[in-house]
């Protein structure tokens, strides 16, 4: 691990639910001590079912939520939002793309404004330059200049996700957290977005933390894979190691549950059906 841009050590996050008059408060351990490194320009995929803590992890990486204990280091600099000393530059280093492009864009904001807002809030770029940067970014993510003045409802799901990705990379982040970016999209659109992510990674040398529950997508895009189960990282390794030789029972269950779309498994299923 020579050039790790993200170093996470023993990261924990507990949520405390308030107790009532006679019920003691309960502690929910959402993330129970996770450690990993992500190298610059590579992709770490985080896999797991809903409730396993993968989104909590994303919230901590993007400095939305403070960890209960453990450390996060981005590009050599430790971040700790509970101490309230995160600079604007630090926040620019990490951006996030959410799952649902229908919910993550403000319906009353034009696409141009969506893209310019990060610059407006974080930098002192003049308006004309912001506009040029937004135009250039639209083209980068495969949209057209005339889309600048349109509203989110005029776009399809795939186009909206392009806008969300464009917004996330406006500030040239070092690390991009993608929380299930393609699971709400059609298969054909999914392929386009995955290609776009690969193009952008090549161009800007971006580092991705890619959260997903779709193993076929993970296999395609990831360099490293981490499988989470009830807040713990039960499996962590290179893509080939995890896919070829899964160690943990949960990983095996996950592989078994993934639908297979190859001819051999269809034949096997039809044979089993006619035998029954």
């Amino acid at each position: 691990m020579s050039d790790a841009i993200l170093k996470v050590r023993d990261l924990k996050r507990d949520y405390v639910t308030k107790g009532g008059l006679f019920t003691p408060p309960r502690v929910l351990h959402a993330v129970k001590g996770v450690s990993f490194d992500v190298e610059r320009g590579s992709t770490l995929a985080v896999v797991g079912e809903s409730g396993c803590g993968k989104s909590t992890l994303a919230r901590m990486l993007t400095m939305i939520d403070a960890p209960t204990s453990g450390s996060i280091e981005i590009d050599g600099a430790p971040i700790d939002i509970s101490a309230g000393k995160v600079t604007r530059e630090m926040r620019q280093a990490v951006q996030i793309v959410f799952q649902n492009p229908y919910g993550s864009l403000n319906p009353r904001q034009k696409i141009g404004a969506v893209l310019e807002e990060p610059l407006l809030l974080n930098t002192s770029t003049p308006a004309a330059e912001r506009r040029d940067l937004a135009m250039a970014m639209l083209e980068k993510v495969g949209l057209k200049p005339e889309h600048y003045g349109r509203y989110p409802h005029m776009f399809s799901g795939g186009q909206r996700q392009r806008v969300a990705i464009a917004r996330a990379i406006m500030l040239k982040p070092k690390l991009l957290v993608l929380d299930e970016p393609v699971s709400a999209l059609d298969l054909s659109v999914q392929a386009q977005i995955l290609n776009l992510l690969a193009d952008l990674q090549d161009e800007f040398n971006l580092t991705y933390v890619f959260i997903s529950h779709d193993l076929s997508v993970v296999r395609y895009i990831a360099d490293q894979v981490m499988v989470m189960y009830f807040g713990e990282a039960v499996e962590y390794g290179t893509r080939d190691a995890v896919f070829d030789n899964p160690q943990h029972d949960y990983t095996k269950t996950l592989f078994a549950a993934t639908p297979r779309a190859d001819v051999a498994s269809i034949k096997a299923r039809l044979a089993a059906k006619s035998a029954a």
Binding site: E49, S50, G157, D186, L187, S188, V189, Q190, A191, Q192, L194, N195, A198, D199, H213, D214, L215, S216, V217, R219, Y220, I221, T253, L254, A256, A257, T258, P259, R260, A261, D262, V263, S265, I266, K267, R269, L270, A276
Partner: protein, 285 residues
């Protein structure tokens, strides 16, 4: 005689910009005990076709077909009251968003009882027993206690199980599942698909599976209809479709699967739309 026979189905919506044709001459045949998958992207008309068949489209839609029959009965000639007797009993449907399709104001038990009350002659006690039986059949733990649960107290997978229980309450002959697992995790998806195919096999139901997930098709279907922009691209049995897809659009869909990726980038469906367009013009001339 087929269970369901639809020929040359067309659906047009009146919009401010003139009529919009959502479906253009599609055919479906489902035999008893058969699993038909309808595959397509959003906007391909796969849900509209089923809603049209059940008469659930708004008034702005014009539905025409050369034939639309269920067990030999022409669905077009039925009055609304007669249609209601068939739908929910012999034909039933489950939808994509399990949490949104249950009424949040009533317990799941009540919503199950409602269906039984409308379609069966069972008395109160028998209905109650049947509800417990159904919840057990779809794998809800502690059904006696869960009948009194509200939808928000259950997980997405459990809500979908309840939806399946409601849909299968009257032993339908045809079950339509509209993207039943899109909102669910893979492990839960597997359980729901196993449950659906299990029920289908045990009761000899016809099952129409609407989906955009080729993996789901491969795991469940006997025959597959591929749709694109309201037109039928290809109909084939599942093995033929995956082994030797005829239509360029089907080939495009299959090669867009991440597990079939060969190179650095995934081929996208738009790489094939030109081939598709030229074939369309050929077909017309």
């Amino acid at each position: 005689m087929s269970l369901l026979q639809i020929r040359n189905l067309r659906v047009e919506f009146d919009t401010a910009a003139g009529p919009f044709r959502a479906l253009d001459g599609v055919d479906y045949t489902v035999e008893a005990g058969e699993v038909l998958a309808i595959v397509g992207e959003s906007g391909s008309g796969k849900s509209v076709a089923m809603l049209a068949m059940m008469g659930l489209l708004p008034d702005s839609a014009t539905v025409t077909a050369d034939e639309m029959s269920f067990e030999g009965v022409d669905l077009r000639s039925l009055s609304t009251a007669q249609r209601r007797k068939v739908i929910g009993k012999d034909i039933s449907m489950i939808f994509q968003e399990p949490i949104a399709s249950l009424n949040p104001c009533f317990t799941v038990g009540f919503q199950l009882l409602e269906t039984l009350k409308a379609h069966t002659d069972l008395n109160r006690r028998q209905r109650r027993d049947r509800v417990i039986e159904l919840l057990t059949a779809v794998g809800i733990p502690e059904p006696e206690r869960r009948v009194n649960a509200f939808p928000h107290q259950m997980s997405g997978g459990q809500c979908q199980r309840v939806m399946i229980a409601i849909a299968t309450a009257c032993h339908p002959k045809l079950l339509i599942a509209d993207e039943p697992t899109t909102a669910l995790d893979v492990t839960i998806q597997k359980q729901i698909l196993d449950l659906l195919t299990g029920l289908q096999r045990d009761h000899g139901m016809g099952l129409i599976m609407i989906t955009h997930d080729m993996g789901v098709v491969a795991e469940t279907a006997d025959r597959v209809v591929v749709q694109y922009q309201g037109k039928q691209m290809e109909t084939a049995d599942v093995l033929t479709l995956f082994e030797a897809p005829e239509h360029p659009y089907t080939r495009a869909l299959l090669s867009a699967l991440p597990e079939n990726a060969t190179g650095d980038r995934l081929p996208t469906v738009s790489d094939y739309t030109e081939a598709f367009a030229s074939e369309q013009t050929e077909a017309r001339t």
